[in-house]
């Protein structure tokens, strides 16, 4: 309800967008450089590439339908896996100093490895295809969740835990009622970072495949199709924006639910 009432106000907040677009258009028109086509050219090119379908299919054409859903599916699968894995491992090492000592060097090592350099390893382990791409995405984006979860789990007020113990809460209850809720803001900050990283990793993982948005970007680069390259970049930006807005809605729900409970 409140959301609907605030729609005009929300739209008014987007005033920067047309300003930026206008400046971009004017600047690129003034430059007249083939590497920097104006946004109007990019948009037309994007429509020709992807949005010539019927309204029933959200205007998506066959090329778009052959690439977008696969890419998005892999992205979300990788993100969910990274979210679950990151929270589990993060909370575990946040609460257990011993485990932390065992895993810390491996984790520090793992997260400093550039994903493009790891592709051969994932290719060897999972062969080409969706599994390898999801593995690459998961591995590349798990770190922000993991670290934020660990930091969050570590920084719990000792008093809260003591109180819970005094009231006889079991280990599992303490985890659900104290540890996770108080680590939640940090975990969500990590999840949000991971979501946009996931888009980046998706592109890298798809460079070596034969379909997906990343593949289309690579093909456009190889063919010196600059409007195509920009089209893919803009598409990724829009996708990222939409994903982030969806995430913020989810976060608001979950965090207010927690606040209300506490």
């Amino acid at each position: 309800m409140t959301m609907i009432r605030h729609v005009p106000a929300r739209l008014a907040r987007l005033w920067v967008v047309p300003v930026v677009l206008l400046v971009w258009e004017l600047a690129t028109r003034a430059m007249e450089h083939p590497f920097f086509p104006p946004p109007s050219v990019i948009v037309v090119h994007m429509r020709d590439l992807w949005f010539t379908g019927s309204p029933a299919r959200l205007w998506l054409n066959d090329t778009a339908l052959a690439n977008f859903p696969q890419s998005l599916g892999r992205l979300l699968a990788g993100w969910v896996l990274a979210g679950v894995g990151g929270v589990v491992i993060g909370v575990a090492i946040g609460r257990s100093p011993l485990l932390y000592r065992f895993l810390d060097p491996i984790i520090q090592f793992g997260r400093a490895l550039p994903a493009p350099a790891l592709l051969p390893m994932f290719l060897a382990l999972f062969s080409t295809g969706t599994r390898m791409q999801i593995a690459t995405i998961t591995f590349g984006i798990v770190w922000p969740v993991l670290f934020n979860a660990a930091d969050g789990a570590r920084s719990i007020e000792p008093l809260h835990l003591e109180t819970a113990r005094v009231f006889g809460l079991t280990r599992g209850q303490r985890l659900l009622r104290i540890v996770l809720p108080s680590a939640a803001p940090k975990i969500f900050a990590g999840l949000r970072l991971s979501l946009s990283l996931a888009l980046i990793l998706m592109v890298i993982a798809e460079f070596f495949s034969t379909e997906g948005i990343g593949f289309q970007l690579r093909a456009a680069q190889r063919a010196f199709d600059l409007p195509g390259v920009w089209g893919a970049i803009v598409l990724l930006g829009i996708l990222g924006y939409v994903l982030n807005q969806a995430f913020l809605l989810l976060e608001k729900r979950v965090l207010t639910w927690h606040d209300a409970k506490m």
């Binding site: 083939p34 051969p120 290719l123 060897a124 070596f208 190889r222 199709d225």
Partner: protein, 323 residues
């Protein structure tokens, strides 16, 4: 103050000398290159051995050039570096060069030829007991190439044609050469396109067998790569370009006549070890750009849809490059 005055005197003297020399072409000072520090962007491939040789043997120095080499990740990827002036001369395969030129994104000139394929330089290879024994068996198969939309996919397409296959009948996948043997072994690719020394290595470690030489028949002596500058650079530095061409030609002649020199040069700018390098055939180092030969690349590109209309290669060959 004194320093400044001395500097201006020097400047004036320098101006006078260049102005005086400007009249006669034979006067040594005027023949010096307009730019003496030249940066060449190149892939660490055997085909650019003459550049290393020209540095080591002092051919560039004799022409008044100080050459610095920089590694690039590919001809297409480094095109922006050429435009922005991070590098002056770019080593690039002809397909990327012609694609870039035809797309109008960059205006380039070909100033030198690097390499034309010789038998045994590039092979299509399969696993030991692969059911694929001839080109016609490739229908529906996956072919590993190092770069899509490039000389590899183009030449494979041309090779498929006599067997009645279209490029759409096979699937191309991009994989770096060092990973190709692994991809072949695991079946991620059915056929791998491998240059020297990778095909020797694949045969040794994996027992990979040759399906076909890539550049045979109509593709024999196919031009692979050349050296590019921007049109502006060619206009503003004709003497530097000519100096580069003379040194390159001398080095290419040496590379053609003495394979031991090439082997030694490879040690300096690649990670190919001595033993592997000495098994390589090479031999296709080129001394001049033959516009007619490079036109074959453009015509094939037109035939397979890489180019939308006929492209006249002679229009982008710099003066002196073919002589």
């Amino acid at each position: 103050m004194l320093g400044f005055r001395r500097l201006s005197v020097l400047c004036i003297a320098a101006l006078l000398i260049t102005a005086c020399g400007g009249g006669g072409d034979s006067a040594p000072p005027s023949n010096g290159p307009e730019k003496t520090e030249i940066r060449i962007g190149m892939l660490p491939l055997p085909e650019v051995a003459p550049i290393q040789l020209a540095i080591d043997k002092g051919y560039f120095a004799a022409e008044g050039l100080t050459v610095q080499t920089e590694l690039i990740s590919g001809g297409a990827a480094a095109m922006p570096d050429l435009v922005s002036g991070k590098i002056d001369i770019l080593h690039s395969n002809y397909v990327s060069a012609l694609l870039a030129s035809a797309s109008g994104t960059v205006k380039i000139k070909i100033v030198g030829d690097a390499y034309a394929a010789q038998p045994g330089n590039f092979l299509l290879m399969t696993k030991k007991d692969s059911p694929i024994t001839e080109i016609a068996d490739l229908r529906g198969r996956t072919i590993g190439v190092n770069t899509l939309n490039n000389i590899s996919t183009l030449s494979v397409s041309a090779l498929l044609k006599p067997a009645g296959l279209r490029p759409e009948d096979v699937k191309f996948v991009e994989r770096p050469f060092p990973e190709m043997a692994g991809a072949l072994e695991s079946g991620q690719v059915d056929v791998a396109l491998l240059p020297e020394p990778f095909h020797q290595a694949a045969a040794k470690t994996l027992g990979a067998v040759t399906l076909s030489d890539l550049f045979t028949g109509p593709l024999a002596d196919f031009p692979i790569a050349g050296y590019l500058v921007t049109e502006t650079f060619a206009q503003q530095h004709p003497k530097a370009v000519a100096a580069f061409q003379r040194a390159l030609r001398k080095a290419a002649e040496l590379a053609r006549s003495d394979s031991a020199e090439v082997t030694a040069a490879l040690q300096k700018y690649t990670k190919i070890d001595q033993a592997t390098a000495s098994t390589m055939k090479l031999g296709g180092f080129s001394t001049a750009v033959d516009p007619a030969r490079v036109q074959r690349v453009a015509d094939l590109m037109l035939e397979f849809g890489y180019l939308k209309q006929k492209f006249d290669v002679a229009s982008i060959v710099a003066g002196g490059a073919s002589g």
